[in-house]
Subunit: 470 residues, 2 copies
């Protein structure tokens, strides 16, 4: 009964939306567009984004979800929003399984005994394994191994990620990390090793989350630094090679962190929200500078820089909790706000580092194209190209975007992103303050114009998505 | 009595040498020069140097003096010389205090609690220190601190080494490492921290030896990675900063390693030796690829490539033991052979990485200038410039050079050397096989022509040096 009612309501909504689609058009008032040059230049000249990023990475440092530093990061974000003059600041709980890393080590045994630099994958169980290594060139090769053929062995997937501007080869690197341990375990392996999903040959291993499929026995899983993967591949070529992996890691109960939210209240449409943000947590080896203190710095600064212009709509900046271990913050946000999708005017997240922003796209429908093109034109002086069909919603806004929230994308150049991603080298010195200012300028322009638009960008509940409460 | 005899003998020797100096001239026969182009091209096309370097770094890995891997490296070198067809292969004992590294860690305490990447300096005692950090911009600033002013504090010297082609700023970086701990201790400090003597901002700390002056209490001493030094400097600027350093390291008895020597016997002057080589040991974090497996690979390959030409003089390649902790191998060699200085026709060591060789120089006196210029001309097609007065003997041949052995220098471009020096990033992938082949070609040309010269390069016992046995 409720279901049938719901479908009827939905059909009506779709019909209504189609009826209006031909007529309505979203545009941005010229008064708002006229303010862009000054706003853009002001953002380019400002070091606010840098100062925020420096503060988070220095004063808190690494922010592994569930650690004492996670709690300090939440306190930091609340204090920083207030210090920046946000009108409303609050937190919303995000609960997740707590995964801890106490120690980890690897070594080659026998005639070529030597240390290996590796790091446990997030979600790996602890354990010590001493056995022979079997190398696979990629995930497909591992998948092709006969069932049971890896019994008592360590599966080593040695795929080298390629550098690309859009980071697209992460689908391979990240795919191995996500699915490799499950495949290895299902074939009887005692442990899983991979060449880090990374692109720079420094002796720092790239961590990141994995997840074992239901019914598969979790096995100790780790990533080698690129030079160590080279070394292990050479040793395996010389002959049978035994390795010892000792991981003291694993899940340890639950933890409740917080999404931290700061708002600048809209002057004329306070109930409509332009959402921007990044994630507050990080992996533990670096200080999470490009992943994702930069996203926090960029978006906290952008809204603060817009504030004196009294934006029409509310600017909401979200510092999401625990993105790294499974989008927990983004999913909690979506669970809380999916009924309010239509009030989320448009959203954009910065979670792909601090490289130059080079491309803009949006999910906006045809009737909002005039506004999208006005934004694109305002971004062009920053060296940003309008690339329809090439963008997508970043991590934490994904769950609500899947439920119908409109998104904009401001794509960072990711050529060097996987040099630093999830490893110890992700530190403040890797960010160029001038490039970060360009990032802030891009978010400032986008957010300001989106907040001033006449008409919407297409946010509407999506029929295709399950709706928890109904 | 013996002393006075010795001085008389020396005076006679000097007089004799002066009498001949005006007449004699060292040159290289045209038949030898004529063989250079083919030898040079053959070396450039050969991967022998690479294969040797790959073998040492892969099969042995890191080779900290006194470890099980040190012994394996000695075995490896003996076997490799034999495999390459050297006529004589032997070892000579080198004894030194054994220094061990078991574990090391650093962390900031208090409100900004976070992990610090650091590494103990070789020669540091173990110990755990938890106290406030006092930052100094350089060694001079530390030296200027009032006596006793550092009581109960950690002295942190934050000097950033500069990149140069000749690596000359290592005199600052290495100077801080060598003398900083002594200065800090003498002013009452509980521990010593320094910004690594390095030039790349990866989160790998650069180790290296230090030595406490007599009468000064050894204190735990470590180097921070560059990003960690940046971080600590920022934290100290924010306010009083406490750090915990825990080093489980220290001296543990004596160890006897070996200089490993391979010879290709001279066809007409077997008693005269052209000595080339590198050092076999390495620090423990990397696999000692540029420091100094490359030197071993370059010189082992060079003599092997010359062998078919039946050189007139004996080619002696020395893989020196424990260079890193105080030139132990080079000093043992000099102690054993100082009476044979005149038989050491000329020597050259490769211990400055595997960058392109760009400069050539020699200690040869004026009468040998024609031969030196012939060598320089033969090196020029490799892009090597003759730079009189700018070279010097590398590490391990220094002690015997100080006692009068003539030397040649083939200077590697060291611009990026201190990106990798003494840290975990010193791995095989950092060596360009083509550039390494240029290095081998340079050593091949130099060694061949030196072995064929008519006349000497000025090797003669030096009056100014103390002579241990007399």
């Amino acid at each position: 009964m409720r279901l049938s009612l719901s479908i009827t309501a939905l059909a009506l909504a779709i019909a209504a939306s189609s009826a209006f689609a031909a007529d309505k058009q979203t545009t941005i008032p010229q008064t708002a567009v006229a303010q862009v040059p000054q706003l853009r230049e002001q953002a380019l000249a400002s070091d606010l984004g840098w100062k925020i990023t420096e503060s988070l990475t220095t004063e808190v440092g690494a922010r592994l979800p569930g650690t004492e530093a996670d709690a300090r990061a939440v306190e930091w974000a609340v204090a920083k929003f207030k210090e920046l003059g946000y009108d409303k600041v609050w937190t919303e709980p995000v609960t997740f399984p707590k995964w801890v890393r106490r120690s980890e080590s690897g070594e080659v045994l026998g005639a070529h005994a030597q240390h290996l630099v590796l790091t446990a994958l997030g979600g790996s169980p602890g354990g010590t394994v001493e056995t022979e290594v079997v190398r696979f060139a990629d995930l497909a090769a591992l998948q092709a191994a006969p069932e049971g053929s890896l019994a008592g062995k360590i599966a080593f997937v040695d795929y080298q990620m390629k550098k690309t501007q859009d980071g697209s080869d992460y689908r391979h690197g990240g795919g191995i990390r996500g699915r490799g341990p499950t495949v290895a375990s299902s074939k009887g392996a005692s442990a899983f090793l991979m060449r880090s999903a990374g692109t720079a040959s420094h002796r720092v291993a790239h961590t990141g989350g994995t997840r074992f499929a239901d019914g598969v026995k979790p096995i100790p899983s780790a990533a080698l630094s690129l030079p160590d993967a080279d070394q292990l591949a050479r040793l395996v070529k010389l002959g049978p090679t035994k390795v010892r992996i000792a991981l003291d890691v694993g899940f340890d109960g639950e933890y409740t962190s917080q999404n931290v939210i700061g708002e600048i209240t809209g002057s004329s449409r306070p109930d409509e929200v332009v959402l921007i943000g990044g994630h507050l947590d990080s992996w533990d080896h670096g200080t999470g500078a490009i992943d994702d203190a930069a996203g926090i710095g960029i978006t906290m600064a952008a809204a603060a820089l817009i504030k004196p212009l009294k934006p029409a709509r509310t600017l909401r900046v979200v510092a999401f909790a625990n993105e790294e271990q499974g989008l927990f913050g983004g999913r909690a946000y979506a669970d809380k706000y999916f009924k309010d999708v239509a009030r989320h005017h448009i959203a954009a997240e910065s979670d792909f580092g601090a490289g130059r922003i080079y491309a803009f796209d949006s999910s906006a429908p045809a009737y909002a194209k005039p506004a999208v093109e006005q934004i694109a034109k305002a971004l062009a002086p920053l060296g940003i190209e309008y690339t329809p069909g090439e963008g997508g919603p970043e991590s934490d806004i994904g769950p609500l975007a899947a439920r119908g929230m409109a998104w904009g994308s401001l794509s960072h150049d990711g050529t060097d992103y996987f040099d630093l991603h999830h490893n110890a080298d992700d530190t403040l010195d890797k960010i160029d303050p001038k490039v970060l200012a360009q990032n802030v300028a891009a978010y400032t322009v986008f957010t300001w114009l989106a907040a001033q638009s006449d008409g919407d960008f297409g946010s509407a509940p999506k029929a295709a998505e399950p709706r928890g409460g109904e």
